[in-house]
């Protein structure tokens, strides 16, 4: 077990390293940096000026070195210009001697956002907590209903109930967030249809959530994932229901309810658990779309802003968080599978 854990964590770290490097590389491509120089300096810089600006700000060093600095395993760059030593780790006005040699993600220094003019770590912390609330309600709505639908459909395969629930699940998996969101807004909040039950934006939810301003975004994200989880649960459940041991239980004289609850459920939920955990990267997609659509300024909205405005540090920060979320949930899913399944548990 320990062995497994160590190997799992090592793979995770390697993945994280490679991924952050790739993001770093892709966000720090020469055209991006040129754009950065022009937006930070002035828009009518000559090529030579751009080059010298980049050199001055440590962007002309080799890629690996820059990545090391950003990560915090290589000492930050310094440069001297007109007797003033500036550097990555030297805050404006501070003396070089007082500053740390290393300043990167590992030291907690995530850089400065060029769009929001604030430290990246602060922005991400506030935005992430907003998204956290959204995700929490999505989970609360999505997981129990998906499991319930899946179990109900799968326990009697081929029944009318199964047909109806399965078709409904297929329909929701065919509806990406930007489609369901648009339809839901049009139906429930446009003046044209006139239902006006909910609000078409969730901007006010950032101050305080209410059923009226938060239900539509939550439902929009939940719907897409719900169908998928429900279908997995149904497949797993209907497979379990044909297993020999279910027949054994039935022929013991157990009632249908007992067969489902005591014998089928635990075996049937092993597979969906993994699926739910692996849904997180997808949910992230949904979050980005829904936050944009409903104008809810959370993590996903921030990511779009950062990417759209060439805010390199912020985009890197968002990527680190996104990648970390994905990797951690993958690890939890693996671990949970081991714990849930007695067959591969260490005796």
């Amino acid at each position: 077990m320990l062995n497994f854990l160590v190997r799992r964590i090592l793979t995770m770290l390697a993945t994280a390293l490679v991924l952050t490097f790739m993001v770093f590389w892709l966000t720090n491509l020469p055209p991006n940096l040129e754009k950065l120089a022009k937006s930070e300096g002035n828009a009518r810089m000559t090529d030579a000026e751009v080059t010298s600006w980049l050199e001055r700000n440590g962007h002309a060093q080799p890629l690996l070195k820059r990545y090391g600095e950003w990560l915090g395993v290589a000492p930050g760059w310094t440069s001297e210009r007109g007797g003033v030593v500036s550097g990555r780790c030297i805050p404006r006005g501070a003396s070089p001697g007082d500053s740390a040699r290393f300043c990167g993600v590992l030291q907690g220094y995530w850089g400065q956002s060029t769009v929001f003019k604030a430290p990246v770590s602060e922005i991400i912390a506030t935005r992430l907590s907003l998204t956290g609330i959204l995700m929490f309600w999505v989970m609360v709505l999505m997981v129990p209903s998906a499991l319930l639908i899946g179990v109900l459909a799968g326990m009697r395969e081929g029944s009318k109930l199964d047909r109806v629930l399965s078709t409904a699940s297929i329909a929701t998996t065919a509806t990406p967030e930007y489609v369901s969101g648009v339809i839901l807004i049009a139906v429930f909040s446009s003046s044209m249809v006139g239902l006006k039950w909910f609000k078409g934006t969730a901007t006010s939810a950032m101050e305080g959530i209410s059923f009226e301003n938060f239900f539509l975004p939550v439902l929009t994200i939940a719907l897409y994932g719900m169908g998928y989880i429900a279908r997995m649960t149904r497949a797993s459940m209907s497979e379990v229901m044909t297993a020999q041991y279910i027949r054994t239980a039935r022929l013991k004289g157990a009632s249908f309810g007992r067969v489902v609850m005591r014998h089928a459920l635990r075996n049937a939920l092993i597979a969906p658990f993994t699926v739910i955990m692996l849904q997180f990267p997808w949910l992230l997609n949904g979050v980005v779309i829904v936050e944009t659509l409903f104008n809810f300024k959370g993590f996903g909205w921030t990511l779009v802003q950062a990417a759209g405005n060439n805010d390199i540090q912020l985009l890197l920060g968002c990527s680190v968080v996104a990648v970390a979320v994905v990797l951690v949930t993958q690890a939890i899913s693996d671990l949970g599978y081991v714990l849930l399944n007695p067959r591969i548990r260490v005796p």
């Binding site: 892709l26 055209p31 329909a171 509806t175 049009a186 990267p281 779309i289």
Partner: protein, 382 residues
Amino acid sequence: MAELGWPAIFLRLALQFWPVWLALLVVFAVSLRTRRRSGLYGRLFDSPLGMVGFGLVMFWVFTALCADLLLMFDPLGQIAQMKNKVPGTITPDGAVYLLGGDNLGRDVFSRMVMGARRVLAIAPAATVFAFMVGVTLGLPAGYRGGRLDAGLSFIANLVLAFPVILLFYLLVTPEIRATGLPAALAAVLFLFPVLFFTLLWNSRFFTRPAKRNLYVGLTLALGLWAWSGLAFNADPLGVWSMQPNMLNVFVSVVFVNAPTVFRIVRSLVMDIKTRDYVAAAQTRGEGPWYIMLWEILPNARGPLIVDFCLRIGYTTILLGTLGFFGLGVSPESPDWGSTINAGRRLLTIAPHPAIVPALALLSLVLGLNLLADALREQSLKD
């Protein structure tokens, strides 16, 4: 300005689609007549939901094919008076915007029809390429195992651990195009089909050199010709080419889909390679590629066909996502994602410009999913 009522709109819409109805009628009549003889495809018509799914998919396929016949207006043409007009509004020169006008006064119906052509031009082709890559790499990973498998799986998991949206924001930008990275990726990804077919023919026909040389030769000639055109825009005859931003979108979508296909193929191979007929092939001295391509792959086709259908749907969703964020498409583009994005701003006042493409996308993907589900169910009945 006069308007048509909803019954009239539906009637005119139904009439407008006459070439599609005709084509559907022919396809269904022929398929239903021959269904007992046409294998899995025929059994699709035993399942009502399967028929609905197939019908929806074919509806959009024929719409895309006959788009020029169906169009009522130029999808890019603007009529100033028609801005945000409700469905059924009559234009100044007496024609009708059946599904209304958008915020620039363009015909929503014509844009929807043209959007179908855009989507169906990219999604199936991108899925085919993703399958070529996933299959060509997944086969040896599952069959050989060991280090090769560990390495390839690690790479696949890397790509899968990227949130798709982030990947798109990183990969589909004008800056990236300037670096030539998409072209390089395209060069690698587009080589896989050539590799796949060369291996396929060679492993089967190396015992008959004449036949082998013919097949492999044709594959290489055709494949490399197309490759030079698509990846480098260097086709001397100018038949094969792709716009740079289209290429960028295409490559990104293939890149996102291929690892999942890889994982599916790999696990199918690991299951099938324990069968006796694989051992029989080994004991008669067959090469590994023959076993992978001719003994294992054909017997994995059921789940792969199902996944292929699902994946076209998923690719359609991805393309919509790209359009929704305005990535890699021109603002004028009639594709469904961009149209939804353009329409969503005025959603509470004039929902139809967004709703129409949204429903179109929904029905196509739903059709593909229903089709996949029916295929899965019918193939399990053996």
